[in-house]
């Protein structure tokens, strides 16, 4: 047993009461016997790279929460017509610049369920501004999972078929529900933000796809061919990077012809956003290709006679695909921000196309904002979306290299 070891070194001599007996197996040592893994260990060692990444990502609680939040946002964007109580362009001429209504549960001490108080409106005799105050006698209950029957409730789902079903709606046509107030034409801000998410969120996705294609092709060529091509691409990237992005975006989007239809403008803006975004991606692809090419497994594959195509497709691309996904999730928010900034300045998308930036364009004038601060509301989804993408991107980046 532990007899042949000096006691003062192990610190577990027989004179100590709680000593743990030192155990050495008497069996002869055989190096050829395989180490038997427990089922859990085996599962871990046999897991594919993507499975490992998924496990690692799952440990990153904030990233998972951000991912779920983003999924929810995209769901809302997909079913915008159902989530929004009013149609995008519906105007309520009697409630122009109406303030947001708070949702209450109790009316005079009794539980009524979620409801809002109606408006009392009167005009300021001096400024002629309409002033709204909540009227505690008008109780407008909110219905859930309802079909409308009020003005502005009918919609064409994705422009395909007519519908009248909403997540929530006001009781009837005389009791409007404006959770985030209305704008200068009496349009419901909440509904418009929900509809705007469709444009704002999709522009990041389409933009990143375009930027990905450019980045992978150009960066891949630079990394693969090297030499002159590499040099040219490097210089081009450097030049594009030495431009401040936003002014260049402004200049490019100002050059989109005014005659274009809103849809064309949408694609034009997406293209412009991608046009300045690919350099960082191309640089990442190039450096990853160059470093992975020197790795042992790539050299081994080469020595075993694998073709270049196979080396790239089977060995190199899987090696950096995860990094690309991570950097893409960090690039999407920048595109969303770019579109928001451009539309805010009036250079990006134009009404009737509605994005968060287009909505914020109405809040450009500080006098208007001071009178009607709820026009700044589209800011909240912008910040939350970008925050969520950043958290998710951080988590993905940590998970991208599961062997570390």
């Amino acid at each position: 047993m532990s007899g042949d070891r000096p006691e003062d070194e192990t610190g577990s001599g027989p004179n100590k009461p709680d000593a743990v007996p030192h155990f050495v197996s008497d069996e002869p040592f055989n190096a050829d016997v395989e180490v038997v893994l427990t089922p859990e260990q085996e599962k871990y060692y046999m897991a594919s790279q993507w499975r490992l990444m998924w496990w690692k990502l799952k440990r990153h609680k904030i990233a998972v929460a951000a991912g779920i939040f983003l999924l929810l946002l995209y769901l809302i964007a997909a079913f915008a017509e159902v989530v929004a109580p009013y149609e995008l362009q519906h105007r309520d001429a009697r409630n122009v610049f109406a303030p947001p209504q708070a949702i209450h549960l109790f009316h005079e001490g009794k539980l009524v369920g979620p409801f809002v108080y109606g408006y009392n409106s009167k005009r300021d005799p001096e400024t002629l501004q309409k002033i709204y105050t909540p009227d505690p006698t008008k109780v407008h209950r909110i219905r859930f999972l309802c079909s409308g029957g009020y003005k502005g409730s009918e919609y064409e789902f994705w422009g395909l078929f007519k519908g009248d079903f909403h997540l929530f709606c006001p009781t009837d046509r005389r009791s409007p529900v404006f959770l985030l107030g209305t704008d200068r034409l009496g349009r419901d801000m909440f509904s418009r933000i929900v509809y705007g998410s469709r444009i704002s969120l999709s522009i990041g996705l389409i933009g990143i796809v375009l930027s990905f294609m450019l980045g992978i092709v150009i960066g891949g060529m630079a990394g693969f061919y090297g030499g002159l091509v590499d040099n040219l691409v490097q210089r081009l990237i450097e030049i594009l990077k030495s431009f401040p992005r936003l002014p260049l975006w402004m200049a490019l989007s100002a050059s989109l012809p005014a005659k274009w239809s809103p849809l064309l403008i949408y694609f034009g803006i997406t293209l412009i956003l991608a046009l300045l975004d690919w350099p960082s991606l191309a640089r990442a692809v190039r450096s990853k290709l160059l470093s992975l090419r020197e790795e042992d497994f790539a050299v081994a594959a080469n020595l075993m006679g694998a073709s270049t195509k196979r080396i790239i497709g089977r060995h190199l691309v899987p090696g950096f695909a995860s990094h690309l996904i991570a950097s893409a999730s960090l690039a999407i928010p920048e595109m969303i921000l770019g579109e928001t900034a451009l539309s805010f300045l009036g250079l990006g998308l134009r009404p009737p196309v509605t994005s968060w930036g287009v909505l914020l364009n109405e809040a450009q004038n500080i006098q208007v904002v001071v009178l009607y601060p709820w026009l700044m509301a589209p800011m909240i989804p912008v910040i939350l979306t970008i925050l969520a993408f950043n958290f998710l991107g951080d988590g993905l980046r940590d998970a991208a290299d599961p062997y570390k």
Partner: protein, 332 residues
């Protein structure tokens, strides 16, 4: 070192040429030219358009020449300090943008200084107290700062200042100094107004810089030489200041190249919201009105600012870091 400087300076020439070509292509992109905008405007006002007069104007502005010829005459003008003619304001561009360029310089470099100082203090503080309450708070604020677009921050600050203090925080100087020559009072007025745009533009850069400094410093602090130093009884303050902090400060200089475009981008939009007399509003209007030489000069100047800033940061880095100086390579 001398060779390195010359090498970098020579490399700037093709970069700037390419930048000028791209700028020119972009300002030429919109179909038609300023005169067509003018004609459309006159027609919409119901004024008669004299074709001969238009042709004369076109010749006078050199708009009848081919784009290549226009580019070279613009380029040679730039080299001689002649930025061309602003159609909309009917004045030489250099007269219009002179003061704005100066103010852009002031705003940009104060913002960089702000980013440096604030992120140095907070980054060091936070890195030496990893996982403390202040660390988490700083991280949270950092994330928020990164996620909040600065023009929206400007809007919110404007609103709050209006609600709470009943003042406007817009503008970069008091209105009475606007068109006056530079004087001490005017400079003081600029300094008084400067802090709002500097904070607004600098927030996201500061947040990013704090994160980087924190990560770098933590890497350094966990290295063996620090452990050895601590084991030998080195004073904690000296243990932080003498080596790890100096090593971690590299990004402060190396990242100028990426922070500068960000700051300039930010200032362009924030200037519109806060109504600053820098590039913002005038560039926006020039782009809309196809006032090509004015817009082109602005874009060219902004790009030049970035190129020079990157050059300075590369040189400073080479001076500080012998590894870069000796290999003659760039920082990236």
């Amino acid at each position: 070192m001398f060779r390195y400087i010359v090498h970098r300076l020579l490399l700037m020439i093709p970069t700037l040429l390419a930048v000028s070509a791209i700028v020119f292509v972009i300002i030429q992109l919109p179909p038609g030219d300023y005169l067509e905008t003018l004609i459309a405007e006159m027609q919409s006002r119901g004024e008669a358009v004299d074709q001969n007069q238009i042709e004369a104007l076109r010749r006078a502005y050199g708009l009848d020449k081919s784009p290549v010829e226009q580019y070279f005459s613009w380029l040679f003008g730039l080299l001689q300090g002649d930025f061309g003619w602003s159609f909309e304001h009917n004045r030489p561009v250099s007269e219009l943008i002179g003061q704005r360029i100066l103010l852009t310089f002031v705003v940009t470099f104060s913002t960089i200084a702000f980013i440096w100082i604030v992120s140095f203090v907070i980054g060091t503080y936070v890195a030496t107290r990893q996982y403390s309450v202040s660390d988490h708070v700083a991280t949270l604020i950092g994330y928020l700062g990164l996620a909040t677009p600065n023009f929206l921050l400007a809007l919110v600050l404007m609103y709050l200042a209006n609600q709470w203090f009943d003042t406007s925080i817009g503008g970069i100087m008091d209105d009475e100094y606007r068109n006056q020559p530079w004087s001490l009072d005017k400079m003081l007025s600029v300094l008084e107004h400067l802090w709002i745009p500097v904070i607004v533009i600098g927030t996201s850069g500061t947040a990013g810089m704090i994160r980087r400094l924190r990560a770098n410093l933590l890497d350094e602090l966990h290295k063996q030489y620090v452990v050895t130093g601590r084991a030998k009884g080195l004073h904690p303050r000296k243990l932080l200041w003498k080596y790890p902090l100096r090593m971690a400060l590299n990004p402060f200089i190396a990242d100028i190249g990426s922070i500068l475009p960000e700051v300039i981008s930010g200032s362009a939009v924030v200037a519109v919201v806060l109504n600053l007399d820098i590039t913002g509003r005038m560039l926006l209007d020039a782009l809309r009105a196809q006032d090509m030489y004015l817009a082109g000069s602005f874009l060219m100047f902004l790009a030049l600012l970035v190129v020079i800033g990157t050059l300075l940061s590369d040189l400073a880095l080479a001076a500080l870091d012998p590894r870069i100086r000796l290999s003659g390579g760039t920082t990236r």
